[in-house]
C-alpha cells in the first residue's frame, strides 16, 4: 500500500530542487536585464511554495517502501517535466502549451529534441534553464535529491531499487550507499573538465557551461541554431566527442579509470565491444561518404565520427545535416539511435549492455540446442547473469521494440512520412534527439502536429523511465499484485 503523504513529501523535495535551478536562471536573467526574469522568478516561487507545503504537515520518514519509491520516481519525473514547462509557457515566443511541454520533457529526459526554430532568440536566463533541465535529467532528479536527502539510509536504499537498474548496479563494485557519491563525482568532474576545455578553445563561459551540461548529460541542447556546426572548430568537436563518448559509458567504470582501479573502462569487455561497434560505424560511414564523393576522406571522417558518437551516446549535438547522406549511412545512424549508450551512464535507450547480453543469451540458447545437458551461463565481466535478469532484459527489449513500433504506426497515421515516423519514434524513446526526414539534425520538431508532439513527449518519458517502471506503477496503482 502506497502512503500518499510520503509520496507527496518527496515530490516536494523534487519541486524544491527545481526551484533552486529556476532561481539561478532568474539570477542570470536579472544580471542580463532580460524579459524572462518575471517568468523564471514566478516559476521558481511557485515551485518553492508547492515544494515546501508538504513540510508543514508530513513528519520525518524513517523508511519508504519499494512501491512508494517507484511512485516517487515515476511521478517525480512527470511533475518535474510539468513544472519545467512553466517558465517557457509564461515567457511565450514559440512556446505554446504543447511546445513548452515538449521542450521541457525533452530537456529533463536528456533527449535534446527541440521545437524551436530560433534558439538564439531565447534570453540567456531561459537558455540556462533549458540547459539546467538536461543537467538535472542527466543523472536523474531522484539521484540528485538523494545527494542532499536528509533522510535515513532505508529511504535511500528504496530509491536505489527503483531508480538504478539491476544491470547497472553490477558494474558499481561498491556498496549501494556509495553509488550516489560515485555518480556525482564523475558527473561534476566531467562537466567541470569539459567547461574548462571549451572555454580555453574559445567558447564563451556561458556557452561552455551550457554545452558541457548538454554533452555530459548526453542531451543535445545547444545555445546555437546550428548546434556545434556554428563553431566550425575541429578541436571543439574533438573535445565534445570525447566527453559524449565517456559520458555514455558506465560511471562506475569511469570512476574506476579515474581512480586507477582494476575494474575500469579498459578492462570491461562490454565497453570494448561498445567502442568497437562505434569504430565500425564511423569507418563504414566515412568510407561511404568518401566513395560517394560527398566530402574528402578527412572531412568524411570528421563528420562521421561526430555524428556516430553523438547518436550512439544519445547526445544529439550536430555538425552537419545528415538528412542528405546516403541511405546506408542513414540506416546505420538509425541503428546507433536505437542501440544507445551503456547502462550506468547518462544515456537513454535500450543500452548497449542489453544488446550485448541479448546476443550472449542467443549464443547460450544455441549451445543448449547442440548440448541439451550442458550448463551454460551468460556472463558480463566474469559475473554470471541470473536467469531472472536475463529474462527481464529480453522482456525489456521486446517491450521497447513494441513501444516504438506503436509510436511509428501512430505517427504515420497522423500523416508523417515513413522515415520521419520511424526515426522520430526511435530517437525519442531512445532519448537521442535528432532524427531523419523532416526531423533531421538541423531541423526541429516544431512543425509536427500537436498530437504527435504529445505522443513523442510520452515516448521520451517512457524511454527515460525504462518503460517497465511506468507499467509497474500502473499495476500498483490499479491494485494488481
Amino acid at each position: 500500500m502506497i502512503r500518499t503523504r510520503v509520496v507527496i513529501k518527496y515530490l516536494g523535495y523534487i519541486l524544491l530542487f527545481n526551484a533552486l535551478f529556476l532561481f539561478i536562471s532568474a539570477t542570470i536573467s536579472f544580471f542580463n536585464n532580460e524579459d524572462s526574469l518575471n517568468a523564471l522568478l514566478f516559476s521558481a516561487a511557485l515551485c518553492a511554495t508547492l515544494g515546501f507545503f508538504p513540510y508543514i504537515f508530513v513528519e520525518k520518514i524513517e523508511e519508504i517502501r519499494f512501491q512508494e519509491g517507484l511512485a516517487i520516481s515515476v511521478l517525480g519525473w512527470i511533475i518535474t517535466c510539468i513544472v519545467g514547462m512553466i517558465p517557457y509557457l509564461i515567457w511565450g515566443g514559440e512556446f505554446t502549451l504543447v511546445n513548452a511541454l515538449f521542450e521541457s520533457v525533452s530537456g529533463f529526459t536528456t533527449t535534446g529534441a527541440s521545437i524551436l526554430n530560433d534558439v538564439e532568440a531565447l534570453p540567456k536566463g531561459l537558455l540556462f534553464w533549458r540547459a539546467s533541465t538536461t543537467f538535472i535529467g542527466g543523472v536523474g532528479i531522484i539521484l540528485f535529491v538523494l545527494l542532499v536527502l536528509p533522510e535515513k539510509k532505508g529511504v535511500q536504499a528504496s530509491f536505489y531499487r527503483s531508480e538504478v537498474s539491476d544491470l547497472s548496479k553490477m558494474s558499481f563494485r561498491t556498496r549501494s550507499r556509495h553509488i550516489t557519491r560515485i555518480i556525482a563525482i564523475v558527473y561534476f568532474s566531467l562537466i567541470m573538465a569539459e567547461t574548462i576545455l571549451l572555454k580555453l578553445l574559445g567558447m564563451s563561459l556561458f556557452d561552455a557551461i551550457c554545452h558541457s551540461f548538454s554533452t555530459v548529460a548526453t542531451a543535445g541542447f545547444s545555445t546555437k541554431n546550428l548546434s556545434i556546426a556554428y563553431y566550425d572548430n575541429i578541436w571543439i568537436e574533438i573535445v565534445i566527442m570525447f566527453f559524449m563518448l565517456i559520458s555514455s559509458m558506465h560511471f562506475g567504470l569511469v570512476y574506476g579509470t579515474m581512480t586507477r582501479q582494476q575494474h575500469n573502462i579498459f578492462t570491461s569487455r562490454p565497453t570494448h565491444m561498445y567502442m568497437l561497434v562505434i569504430f565500425v560505424g564511423i569507418l563504414l560511414i566515412t568510407l561511404q561518404l568518401t566513395h560517394e564523393k560527398m566530402f574528402s576522406f578527412w572531412e568524411s571522417l570528421r563528420y562521421a565520427a561526430f555524428q556516430v558518437i553523438s547518436l550512439a551516446s544519445t547526445t544529439g549535438l550536430v555538425t552537419i545535416d545528415t538528412a542528405i547522406w546516403p541511405m546506408f549511412s542513414i540506416i546505420l545512424l538509425i541503428y546507433y539511435s536505437a542501440q544507445c549508450g551503456m547502462v550506468g551512464s547518462t544515456a537513454g535507450g535500450i543500452k548497449f549492455d542489453r544488446i550485448y547480453l541479448f546476443f550472449s543469451s542467443i549464443k547460450k540458447q544455441l549451445k543448449l540446442i547442440l548440448h541439451p545437458n550442458g550448463i551454460y551461463a551468460v556472463k558480463i565481466d566474469n559475473k554470471v547473469i541470473e536467469n531472472d535478469l536475463e529474462l527481464q532484459i529480453m522482456v525489456f527489449i521486446i517491450l521497447y521494440i513494441f513501444t516504438f513500433s506503436i509510436t511509428t504506426l501512430l505517427l504515420s497515421a497522423m500523416g508523417l512520412d515513413g522515415i520521419t515516423s520511424l526515426s522520430a519514434s526511435i530517437t525519442t524513446i531512445g532519448n537521442v534527439g535528432p532524427g531523419f526526414g523532416s526531423v533531421s539534425s538541423l531541423a526541429n520538431y516544431g512543425h509536427l502536429p500537436d498530437a504527435a508532439k504529445y505522443l513523442l513527449s510520452a515516448n521520451m518519458l517512457l524511454g527515460r523511465l525504462e518503460i517497465m517502471n511506468v507499467f509497474a506503477l500502473f499495476m500498483i496503482l490499479s491494485g494488481k499484485k
Partner: protein, 259 residues
C-alpha cells in the same frame, strides 16, 4: 517538523497568500508593461505617422497650387504654395522631434533633401516669365519627378512607422498573453494547493479526531487507558495524553473514595 496545529494552519494560508500575491504582482507588472507598450505605440509611432500624413497632404496641396498658378490664377496659386510649405516644414520639425526608430533620421533627411529641391524648383519656375507650353514642359520634366521623389520619401517614413506599429501590436499581443499566463498557472496551482490542503486536513485533522472519537467509543473502564493511536506529536497527541491523565485521575479518585 512543526508540532503546533495553529502554526501549521497559519503557514499553509501564508503560502497560499504568498502564491496569490506573487501571481497578482506579476500580472500587474505585465499589464503595466502592456500599458507602456500601448503608450509607446500611440505616442511615438502614431505621432510620426500623423506628421508624415500632414506632409503628404501639404505636398499635394503645394502641387495643386502650382497647377493653379499654371492655369493663370497666379496669386492664389503662390499663396497655396507658401502655406503648404509652412505646413510641411512644421511637420518635418515634428518628425525630427519624435524620432523613435533606428534609421528614422536618415528617412527624415531624405524628405528634407527631396522637398528642398522640389520647393526650390517650384519657386524658380514662378520667378521666370515663360509661355504656358514652356511651363508645362518644365513641370513635367523637372517638377513632377521631384514631387514624386518627395512623396516617396514621405511614404517611406510612413511605412517605417507603420511596420514598427504592427510589430509593437504583436508585442502587445504577446505581452497580454504573458500577463494572462501567471494568472492561469496560479489558478491551476491554487487548485492543486487546495486539493493538497484538503488531503492534509483529512489526514492530520479529521483522521485524528475520528481516531479520538473511536478511541472514546471503544473505551471500557477495564482497559484502563484510551488508545487512539495518534501518530503525530501535535495537539491531538497532547489531547490523547490529557484524556488518559484524566482517566487516570478519575480512577485514582474513584479508588480512594472506595477505600
Amino acid at each position: 517538523m512543526i508540532k503546533s496545529l495553529k502554526i501549521k494552519i497559519l503557514l499553509s494560508f501564508t503560502l497560499l497568500i504568498f502564491m496569490l500575491l506573487g501571481a497578482g504582482i506579476m500580472s500587474i507588472l505585465e499589464f503595466r508593461n502592456i500599458g507602456d507598450s500601448v503608450d509607446k505605440v500611440l505616442k511615438n509611432n502614431y505621432q510620426s505617422i500623423e506628421s508624415a500624413k500632414k506632409m503628404a497632404d501639404a505636398l499635394e496641396r503645394e502641387n495643386n497650387g502650382i497647377l493653379l498658378w499654371l492655369i493663370g490664377d497666379r496669386k492664389s496659386g503662390l499663396a497655396t504654395v507658401h502655406a503648404s510649405d509652412s505646413i510641411i516644414r512644421n511637420a518635418i520639425k515634428e518628425s525630427e522631434a519624435n524620432i523613435t526608430e533606428k534609421g528614422e533620421p536618415r528617412y527624415i533627411l531624405a524628405i528634407i533633401e527631396a522637398y528642398d529641391k522640389y520647393h526650390t524648383a517650384v519657386l524658380q519656375m514662378a520667378e521666370v516669365e515663360s509661355s504656358l507650353d514652356e511651363f508645362k514642359t518644365r513641370y513635367k520634366t523637372e517638377i513632377q519627378p521631384l514631387f514624386f521623389t518627395t512623396k516617396n520619401a514621405i511614404n517611406d517614413l510612413m511605412v517605417l512607422n507603420q511596420d514598427q506599429m504592427n510589430r509593437q501590436s504583436e508585442i502587445v499581443k504577446e505581452k497580454s498573453r504573458r500577463a494572462m499566463m501567471p494568472a492561469i498557472v496560479s489558478i491551476a496551482a491554487a487548485v492543486i494547493f487546495a486539493l493538497l490542503l484538503y488531503f492534509f486536513i483529512s489526514i492530520y485533522f479529521i483522521h485524528p479526531i475520528k481516531q479520538l472519537i473511536n478511541g472514546v467509543m471503544e473505551f471500557y473502564p477495564e482497559k484502563g487507558r484510551l488508545n487512539a493511536n495518534i501518530a503525530t506529536k501535535d495537539e491531538f497527541k497532547t489531547l490523547e495524553n490529557e484524556i488518559n491523565n484524566l482517566i487516570y485521575r478519575l480512577f485514582r479518585k474513584k479508588g480512594s473514595s472506595n477505600e
